[in-house]
Symmetry: C2
């Protein structure tokens, strides 16, 4: 088995990526190869410098890099020689079983969706993000950006994907509680999409508990919350940004007095523990569920440990046979109406 790692993606690439690959290869007990995709001469030097020469790490040259701030569509249109494109293509071609990147998130979504592509029988892969909650277990929001306009059945598929992710990978609940993101608790509240999806979700064999509101993302009362990728992406970016702004605003106020500054210093270890818990990269990054093999998009600011974790999670997806379990769940959990649509479309 091989994992294709985009060695040039991320704020600390390629250094952290190479170090992360080395950490992973040293810790990993199975025989897993890593394709380190990127600037060959740079990667060779780094591998040598950090003692990765005799590990099962193979360099695949890529001349271009998708920058963190360029339009996501560039990866599929303009930069076919980029490390991200080539790493994704290795999975598409079956040469690798997992694709891991810390690069431009939008581009990573596009690469996973259009280059790696959907697994057989999956209409629309969805990106899942595990949000930290009050309850020491995450809530998975899906989709956070791979599918902008969705039909009701897509949200039902996302629910099954989220269910499978919680059950097989995060293992935080054996019978995950599933909700649909809306603007009121009662059935009948929401936009057209929600109103049409609600009865379908009720018909599934999922543990569907009804509408979730924005506030429920962080309470831990739900294991999975589904929404279309437009809403999910806005929620994700709003939350990330609010976290940062709150910290900045507090820092600004703290700096106005010496006493507060001392207070902040005394609090530092607690703040660091909080930061670690609050960061979704602690869960190894965001997987694009329902693609061929496994696609893991991790944080742009990933350090070596984060890259190692993302590689581990990608391995877990492959070893668990996540896609088989997902397909099986789609067959056993969906209502007859949706199974018929799937049969017609995929001959399943």
């Amino acid at each position: 088995m091989y994992i294709a790692l985009d060695a040039m993606g991320g704020d600390n690439a390629p250094l952290s990526n190479v170090k992360g690959a080395i950490l992973f290869a040293k810790e990993c007990k199975q025989n897993i190869g890593i394709y380190l995709v990127g600037d060959k001469s740079k990667l060779e030097k780094l591998l040598k410098k950090y003692g990765g020469e005799d590990l099962p790490i193979e360099i695949v040259n890529a001349e271009e890099v998708v920058e963190m701030d360029e339009p996501p569509s560039n990866v599929i249109r303009k930069k076919k020689k980029s490390s991200m494109y080539i790493a994704a293509k290795l999975v598409r071609e079956g040469k690798a079983q997992a694709f891991v990147t810390a690069g431009n998130t939008g581009a990573a979504m596009a690469a996973s969706k259009f280059i790696v592509g959907a697994a057989p029988g999956i209409e629309r892969p969805g990106i899942a993000v595990a949000f930290p909650t009050k309850k020491e277990k995450p809530t998975v929001l899906i989709d956070v950006g791979a599918n902008v306009d969705c039909r009701p059945r897509h949200l039902v598929y996302f629910a099954v994907m989220g269910h499978t992710y919680i059950k097989e990978i995060l293992k935080t609940n054996d019978n995950p509680k599933v909700g649909i993101l809306s603007i009121g608790e009662e059935e009948g509240k929401g936009n057209e999409l929600v109103k049409e999806t609600y009865p379908l979700l009720k018909m599934t064999k999922l543990n569907f508990v009804g509408n979730a509101e924005g506030r429920d993302i962080f309470t831990g009362d739900f294991d999975v919350i589904v929404c279309d990728g437009f809403v999910g992406n806005i929620v994700l970016k709003t939350s990330e940004s609010l976290g940062t702004v709150i910290v900045e605003m507090i820092k600004k106020e703290v700096k106005k007095s010496i006493i507060s500054t001392i207070g902040a210093l005394l609090m530092l270890p607690a703040l660091k523990r909080f930061k670690k818990k609050a960061d979704y990269k602690e869960y190894g990054g965001a997987p694009l569920l329902g693609t061929k093999g496994a696609c893991i998009i991790t944080h742009g600011s990933a350090d070596a440990k984060t890259i190692k974790n993302a590689l581990k999670v990608s391995l877990e997806f492959v070893e668990t046979n996540f896609n088989d379990k997902l397909k099986n769940n789609l067959e056993t959990l969906l209502p007859e109406e949706l199974k018929k649509i799937r049969e017609e479309e995929y001959g399943l």
Copy 2:
């Protein structure tokens, strides 16, 4: 002029509401009457106790209360004797010019929309919330829940409402920068609604600067960001909840050590200043723009000062002739296409 105050709405009602009304009446230099709507005997006692007897405050009896956790639709369907219903009706009937409530937010939206009703020439009132940003000036998000499914022209009207709110009431920018909430910066990114609204916004005479992403709500780079009420409501509730959860999670970590606890105590004044800046109730609450008179929905946890601020803001709306300015802006800023629709619908 009269302001109708829902005296029974809010976590601290009726005490804070009565105190807030008294504070307002004492500070206000104009001849403004307040209708204090709620349980007559309770309100009489409180008014007497806190020295509000000789102020221009008139009690209007209401036998019922819309509770904070009941379905919003109850205010219009089941509780026509509630303080919220009766206060809103005073504006509808022209007996008061402004409606202020700290009650159940969903019910307050329903009361503003269906009982007070839209101002002549306004198709869809929208709720505006001023979010705190890094730049010591707010970003107004509109609509945050009054209109679940929207057509492109509604978002354009919201943009004009937000523009007018910034310019006439918050006064933080004379030529407000307007954006549309989406999931990528470039034109062409977004869901169907965004893609159809973008060219319309470009045709207006507003200072339209393009797509805003979730993260832009808190940067202060935009003065107004428009979205449909479904997305806006989810963003609002997600943000409120995330703020609370972050504080709770930090507290939990802090309590694990005495040193951190001392640190937190030293930081307390800074944290309080931050909390004040971060709370949108500091801007006097969220107005429902485009209704008859003025409708101000303030925070459920409103104390006397917050109620006073909300009353002041409602007065400002009336004194500024906000609705006239809004109508004027709709006439001067909209593109011809939308003006024609408005002419046909309203004979304007």
